[in-house]
């Protein structure tokens, strides 16, 4: 195995996001897609991010990658500090997104895979060419070595006959295989962080389970961190070490995965758990969260969840709650825990 060994202390912080605010400037007004979110990504850990559609999960990821459709959408404040393996630190928000420095981080140190496996590979280039392109971009190797590495990494993501498949085009592969190829491409440069934006949402359940297990294995093997975006709490339970729950651009709760599943604190998190079927909780009635997500152009004052919250108090409708650390490492933004 050619994985580079890095001597890093456990729990080392690779990425630190502080009070990130990302906004879209549209004709109808400003959309606060990410509104003051903070978290850290630690070496060898999987950070899960959950939340309903539109709560800003993808935009958080794209902010880190600096792939926002600027100038329409941009980071307006906050810091994203990346600690490269060679030492030092760099604030990604301050880099020019086209600069060589940002491009070295993108793909080399932080790789990303997307939700839509059917469209995330270029139809006119072979799988091999697309992976080899990434390898040769970031590593000083000849084409033959890059090709060997591409076959190796395709093999690692369980694509059969990689030496043959490498010459195929995306349309010759199934959705699951394409997503595996995407993962292979992301891993090809030994990134320290893999951002996976709903990597299996578009796939059927059995393939989803296989790919997730494979990702988990490779994550351990490569010793990398994963930021896993999903709206599926089942996936979170299977994959994550730590979980961050988002609602309309804000972080509402953050905890260790066991702690969150055993003891969800925020009424929104509790609602999420009540609204999905979870193994082991058979016989419980499923209750969807009442009401709907507020329009980003017309947000209520105070806590954004207050209008839907069964336990809302007067203050909830007036003032946004601060973040409280209820247990060590268990954070919640809710007036109930003041």
């Amino acid at each position: 195995m050619a994985v580079q060994e890095r001597e890093l202390p456990a729990n080392e912080v690779l990425l630190e996001v502080k009070d990130l605010r990302t906004q879209f400037f549209t004709e109808q007004g400003v959309v606060k897609a990410v509104d003051g979110v903070s978290f850290t990504i630690k070496k060898g850990k999987v950070l899960g991010i959950v939340g309903e559609s539109g709560c800003g999960k993808s935009i958080t990821a794209l902010s880190i990658m600096r792939l926002l459709p600027e100038p329409r959408g941009k980071i307006v404040s906050g810091t994203i500090t990346f600690y490269p393996p060679e030492g030092g630190s760099v604030d990604i928000t301050r880099l020019d997104r086209h600069s060589a420095e940002m491009r070295r981080i993108r793909g080399r140190h932080i790789a990303m895979i997307f939700q839509e496996p059917m469209t995330s590979l270029n139809p006119v280039h072979t799988i091999g060419d697309q992976i080899i392109e990434a390898i040769q971009l970031h590593q000083d190797v000849d084409k033959e070595t890059a090709r060997k590495r591409a076959i190796e990494v395709l093999n690692q993501v369980d694509i059969p006959h990689p030496e043959r498949r490498i010459n195929e085009y995306p349309h010759q592969m199934s959705g699951g295989q394409r997503q595996r190829a995407m993962i292979a491409m992301a891993l090809s440069c030994y990134p320290s962080i893999l951002i996976a934006d709903e990597p299996t949402t578009a796939l059927d359940v059995t393939i989803q389970a296989k790919i997730l297990r494979n990702m988990r294995d490779l994550q351990r093997q490569y010793g990398m961190a994963i930021m896993l975006i999903t709206h599926d709490l089942g996936v979170i339970g299977q994959m994550a070490d730590e979980v961050l729950v988002m609602y309309v651009g804000r972080k509402v709760e953050q905890a260790d995965v066991r702690e969150l599943f055993l003891n969800p604190l925020h009424p929104y998190t509790q609602g999420l758990f009540r609204s999905i079927p979870l193994i082991g909780l058979k016989g419980k009635k499923l209750v969807p969260i009442a009401g709907s997500v507020p329009s980003p152009y017309n947000l209520p004052p105070g806590c954004y969840f207050a209008p839907r919250c069964p336990r809302a108090m007067d203050i909830c409708r007036q003032e946004a709650p601060a973040e409280y650390e209820v247990e060590p490492g268990h954070f919640v933004s809710c007036w109930l825990y003041k």
């Binding site: 086209h98 491009r103 469209t119 006119v124």
Partner: protein, 327 residues
Amino acid sequence: MAAFIGRRFISMLITLVLVSVVGFIVINLPPGSYLDVYRAQLMVLGTSTAEQQIKALEKRYALDKPLYYQYLKWITGFVRGDFGRSFQYNREVSELVWNRLGFTVVVSVCSLVFSWIVALPIGIYSATHKYSAADNIFTFLSFIGLSIPSFLIALVLMVISSRYFGMSVGGLFSRAYENAPWSWAKLVDFLQHLWIPVVVVGLADTAGLMRVMRGNLSDILSMQYVQTARAKGLPERVVIYKHAVRNALHPLIMNLGMSLPGIISGSTVVSIVLSLPTCGPLYFNALRSQDMFLAGTFLVFMAIMLVIGNFLADIALAMVDPRIRYE
């Protein structure tokens, strides 16, 4: 790829046969063909050879035989280069068309290349700098280009080049070289005349091509795989040219296949205005005066160009898009 080309080639041949049949029927459609007119003229003249001449013509075109026989006779002649006779000019069609075909192809191909060379970079720039000042200016210019008829541009350019540059305008040669054999001086003279029709004919397509390229490319730029390419850390230039432009070329290549027949019939009005010795005006006249073999020859030639154009476009498409190759 070879199998793909083979399959396309066979279907191209079949199409050509069908087209020649239709072409022949069209030639024979007008009641009272030119031959009848010709016969009447000869009768009136009452020369002793009239009867013989008409007999010869009837024999040549097998007019006394059934239609399918006439077709076979015509088509076997056609492939050997005997396109029949133009009654209007009283000359063999082949004598009339080859020269003009040559000039037409030169003018059309040059203007095609001109419009692609101008339109593609502008389209790419506009798509990647949407709503910038330059993009807005190009958009404005392209709408003007789309709405001004090209013969008007031809007239304006003629006036400018004759008044301010003292050049002889119209035609493809100065009078002195018109019937001279080819020489360096004649070639230079030809090139000096060529640019006006090339620019005029080319501009007509440039505006449209620019808009199509801008639209395609901006669609493609919003595709997920373009984001994937960026996420790899590729420079924006590589993202655009390697991952986006190639996918944006599809409709243009298809369009190119369709525009090949235009190379022959192309821009008749401009050719008339600029008095170019190209096919357009000749075809136009042939149609007006029911000069059936002349018109039919052009018709078949255009069909051939269309079929060949589509054949080439298919191959080009297959080269840029593996999905078509493996269908």
